[in-house]
Amino acid sequence: MKQLGQYWFGEVALARPYFLVRFVLGLLAFDLWLNMIPEGAKYAAGAFNVAHFPMFEDFVPSSGFYLGVLAFTGVLALSQALYRPHPIAITFVAAGYTLGWSCSLLDAAPHHYLISLYLLCFIFFPMLSARAAFSRSDQAPLGSAWAYVLFCVTTAIMYFYVAAWAASEGRAYWLPMACCVGFLVASLQDRVSLPALKVAVAPLVAAPITFHVIERSETWFSACMIGIALIVFAPTQAIHGLGQILTRPARSLFEEQAVEGLDERASGVFYLSLLGLVAAPMLSMLVDLPGVKTGCTLTAIAMLFVMGRQLYLTPRFRPIWRVASLFGGCLALWLSVTASTARFEYYDNAALDAEARGDSEAALELREKAERYAR
């Protein structure tokens, strides 16, 4: 029992949870905007829907609803990747993302369930600043992060079942099984001083990389899993060193002296933050897609929840950075949608669907929009 406790609550290099949250949330945001927005056109087509779970039985999500959820989740996810994540925000991201796929069987990609499990783990991750994850000394900071171990075990279970079903159907199963074992072993590497284990972990990363290169039908998912494997399997000193280099600007930018109580900056910071919260969602008015404005406005409201007392009572600049990260998220959404073919594909798909259902008037209108955004 004690050993089990040591497994879950033992120390891990804090660089790993630090990078994992930011990497997955950042990639998730762009996946939502670039890959899932074009799929939004099919929602509510024919006013028919079957959800993944009975609780959504009579609910027919519209395109606007779906795109709003994608915008909300993406902007909030990216804002958390840009500046110190907060458990409330991650909870909103997990809820929004899960709602997005679970409200309809139109979204039945198996890995979306895995990402939801990951997001659930992230809620309990240590919410680390760059200063906490990367000390100035060469010694990598270690700390207990049971949710990180749970993240690794969740990934291992997924690979275990991939291997088990493959074995039951007489297909080769050694590669996913190697991935499963690899993730379990790698989760131990920061606290076990066995040289053999440390030597074995780094080459084991070849298993998930090979698996996802072979399986690469979903490029973004493969990239996500390869990135996760690199973070989990990297030697402690390597990931710490890389983190020190990458976070140097952030550490000098965000650091400030701790000031007790309120000072004269407090009211300035408060009004500036409030103004920012109102202004950031306005960027979404430039994105001509249904539901996106509502989604971004809800993100600002969610951010208000996240900031809570901090917004009014903290005299430091933390609220400003939070609002800046929200701006960053909204700006990235606008740039992603306008610089990619996502918006064209959305309207093109909607026009094709309207044509198939014989709604020529709607098809014409959607076709005009698609042509406007054709690149």
Binding site: V50, P110, L117, L150
Partner: protein, 150 residues
Amino acid sequence: MASSQTEPPPPLPSGKSRHRTGLFIAAFVGLQFLIPLSYLVREDASDDRFTWRTVSSTEAETCEARASIQRFDGTEEALSLETLLHEQWVDYVGEGRRSVVDAFLLRQCEREDVQQAALFTKCDDERGEREFSLRCGGERAYETTRTAAR
């Protein structure tokens, strides 16, 4: 401006908190092991959600579907699935995914003067030809025939 201090590492959960965390971990891991196993008792073999039988989306099987309704006066009317549903729903219906088939047939029963709705599917794999029918007023479609394709 910059502080040279390093923030303290996250604290180790202790006592009650550790116990609660342990219970959460046990439930989370236990569910993850049990949910994929539920596939073994699923009525609909095409429904492999949350099981990790596939990690990425797979191409839809080549299936066809035809639907019709029977009115109370005995007349039968063929339905064009493509004009009623998005093509992805047509694929689901063609594969005979039970939850979608049931919802689709129930939906046809909501039309006026419909006594029975029926769906005929044909796949190139072991599912072969299947026919589902729903007498309006019922909750669940009845699978009447099944013919192996090979």
